[in-house]
């Protein structure tokens, strides 16, 4: 089905960002506009998701230039799922930011850039053109550079320089890959490339090009040898920014990997083995990195790396069920990872530190909040019936069926380390007695106004609710994941929808 509605959420965020420009110094107005913009875009994304579920692939040829000549926007199940997740997280973090980001940062245009970041994310999930994907990636990374550095503390600067360098390098590699791909096929449309790449006789060149894409996206999604920038930068910005980065930015790289390696390139045996090996190493290094850390945000940064390994493992297995597991895991991971980073923000407000040794006794002081946080942490571990459990079972099963026992071992190892780390977090932060008596000066959470407290806690509760919903309605989520996986394994539907053949 052709519809202009695909662009609506993207344009809504752009419109909100432009509106915000007119209220540059007026913090209260900016907060209101941002929440309204996020809510409207959220409703639009739900509608887009429903339309995609109803009609199958939605396609828009921009300016009516037919594919493969013009730029195409496509919404299939995977894109629609990512768009919906982006909408949920952006609304949650947007509300959280109204209290979690300090006034001086908002005056420097925090919300303005925030909406551009979300716009870029939505664009990269919906585009059907490889060069357009590059442009959306650039929109996202330049926005993320600014969000990472706004405020300008020394620690932020140190983290930013690694982040900026690695992301610019990834962009150049991605651009190189596009250049070579254009040289050997003469096309940029993802659906059109699928047929043209398959017809090339020089398979070596195709493999090299595909690996260039893998390196480019791999840096962005922080896979094994290229992940160093992530743990050394994600703990530096304020929690709201870390939440949106940890939840969505790395997943954008994973999404691009899946798009490129299911539609354009059909991986051969060598590439699949490479994916599996990298997935295993990513899981091990991420898991081991968490063990000796005391700073909660650093632990969570390494957990991001570790759990990216699960997603790449699905790519290495390359079966329909494994893909279903990956899509399910993406749904679970985006929600939970954003939530845990927001939680660290609240912990920081309560105790003025995110060092585990100096935290403690939160269960005694904030029992209700601790209960919600417990749900989130247990979802992250994957205790049945919470959301992390179902996709892991699928991945374990596929790894076992495929006979990849090392990968199975790595998956189980990573799960156990996650369990260990989360248990330690829980014991240190919530159960242990507070190492020093709690004075009123330390607790920055209690003096917040009621609306401020609601803004901080409501998104956490809401996203915890979404996690519970995913866990308890696993059947419905599984149906969506299966459908996305089926589409990924049979890209001809996507190709026909875009090129308008076989109507």
């Amino acid at each position: 089905m052709t519809t202009n509605f695909i662009l609506a959420p993207i344009l809504m965020h752009m419109l909100t960002a432009i509106m915000l420009l007119f209220f540059w110094q007026r913090v209260q107005a900016q907060k209101v506009i941002s929440i309204i913009g996020n809510s409207v875009a959220f409703l639009m994304c739900i509608r887009l998701f429903n339309l995609t579920m109803e009609h199958g692939h939605l396609v828009l040829q921009v300016g009516n230039w037919q594919a493969p000549f013009g730029i195409t926007f496509v919404s299939d199940t995977l894109s629609a799922v990512m768009v919906l997740l982006t909408a949920i997280v952006s609304l949650g973090v947007g509300i959280y930011s109204t209290a979690g980001i300090n006034v001086s940062r908002i005056k420097f245009g925090y919300f303005f850039i925030y909406h551009f970041l979300i716009m870029g994310l939505l664009g990269s999930f919906l585009t059907g053109d490889i060069f357009n994907l590059y442009v959306w990636f650039e929109v996202v990374i330049i926005s993320s550079f600014i969000l990472l550095t706004v405020g300008g503390k020394k620690m932020q600067m140190e983290g930013a320089i690694k982040y900026v360098t690695m992301n610019m390098l990834a962009s150049v590699i991605f651009l190189t890959a596009i250049g070579i791909l254009y040289g050997i096929t003469g096309s940029l449309n993802i659906a059109d490339l699928a047929g043209k790449v398959a017809a090339i006789e020089n398979r070596g060149l195709v493999t090299v090009t595909s690996l260039l894409f893998f390196v480019g996206f791999g840096i962005k999604s922080s896979v094994f040898p290229l992940y160093f920038w992530l743990p050394s930068s994600y703990h530096t910005p304020p929690s709201a920014i870390a939440a949106i980065f940890g939840g969505l930015l790395t997943k954008m790289g994973v999404y691009a990997l899946f798009r490129v390696f299911t539609v354009i390139f059909q991986p051969d045996y060598f590439t699949l083995v490479l994916f599996s090996v990298i997935a295993i190493l990513t899981m091990f290094t991420g898991a081991l990195g968490t063990i000796n850390k005391r700073n909660i945000r650093r632990i969570l940064s390494y957990l991001i790396v570790c759990h990216i390994g699960y997603l790449i493992a699905g790519l290495g297995l390359y079966t329909e069920l494994a893909f279903a597991g990956v899509v399910f895991y993406l749904i679970h991971d985006v929600i939970v990872k954003s939530n845990v980073f927001m939680i660290t923000g609240v912990l920081f407000k309560i105790r003025e530190t995110v060092d585990m040794q100096r935290l403690g006794g939160l269960y005694k002081d904030y029992p209700k909040l601790s209960f919600v946080i417990a749900i989130v942490l247990f979802s992250l571990v994957g205790i049945p019936p919470l959301s992390g459990f179902w996709p892991k079972i699928l991945l374990f099963q596929e790894a076992f069926k495929d006979g990849q026992f090392i990968m199975l071992g790595a998956l189980i190892f990573a799960s156990f380390v996650t369990l260990y780390v989360i248990a330690r977090l829980w014991a240190e932060i919530f159960w242990k007695d507070s190492p020093k008596p709690l004075t009123e000066e330390i607790d920055h959470f209690a003096p917040f106004s009621l609306s401020g407290k609601i803004a901080l806690v409501l998104p956490i509760v809401a996203l915890a609710g979404v996690s519970l919903f995913i866990g308890l309605n696993a059947n419905a989520i599984m149906e969506v994941s299966n459908r996305a996986a089926h589409e990924m394994m049979n890209p001809t539907v996507y190709i026909n929808a875009v090129l308008g053949t076989n109507k």
Binding site: V135, T149, M168, G179, I180, L188
Partner: protein, 117 residues
């Protein structure tokens, strides 16, 4: 001409990567610039070099009968140049800010926070 460009691309990429391995922040930035320019010339080269054949169809014909210069790579390069322009401007400001907050141009001295856990 192709050979010359191929060599140029190789030189730009290798010198860019070499510069990125240096410890000075300014050299890091120069390395990124060289890499970006290398990528642009690579796209130009991969589009195929055609001299003096504009991609315009004659009024009395309906399709191209001769080889023509592909306009798409040039459009891509233009986009990429604009993007890298913005990124470079940002990176220069960032490096300046890093220099003024840390007081050092040496990348190795920026690892202080990596040591604490």
């Amino acid at each position: 001409m192709e050979l010359l460009l191929v060599i140029l691309v190789g030189v730009l990429y290798s010198s860019g990567i070499y510069m990125m391995f240096r410890r000075s922040m300014v050299k890091l930035l120069l390395g990124l610039l060289l890499l970006g320019n290398g990528a642009n010339i690579l796209i130009f080269l991969m589009g195929g070099l055609t001299k003096g054949k504009a991609p315009i169809i004659d009024a009395n014909q309906t399709e191209f009968l001769d080889v023509y210069a592909d306009p798409v790579p040039q459009a891509l390069i233009l986009t990429a140049i604009v993007i890298s322009f913005a990124l470079t401007a940002f990176a220069i400001v960032l490096l300046n800010k890093v220099y003024s907050t840390t007081g050092s141009d040496d990348l190795d001295s920026l690892n202080i926070q990596d040591l604490d856990i």
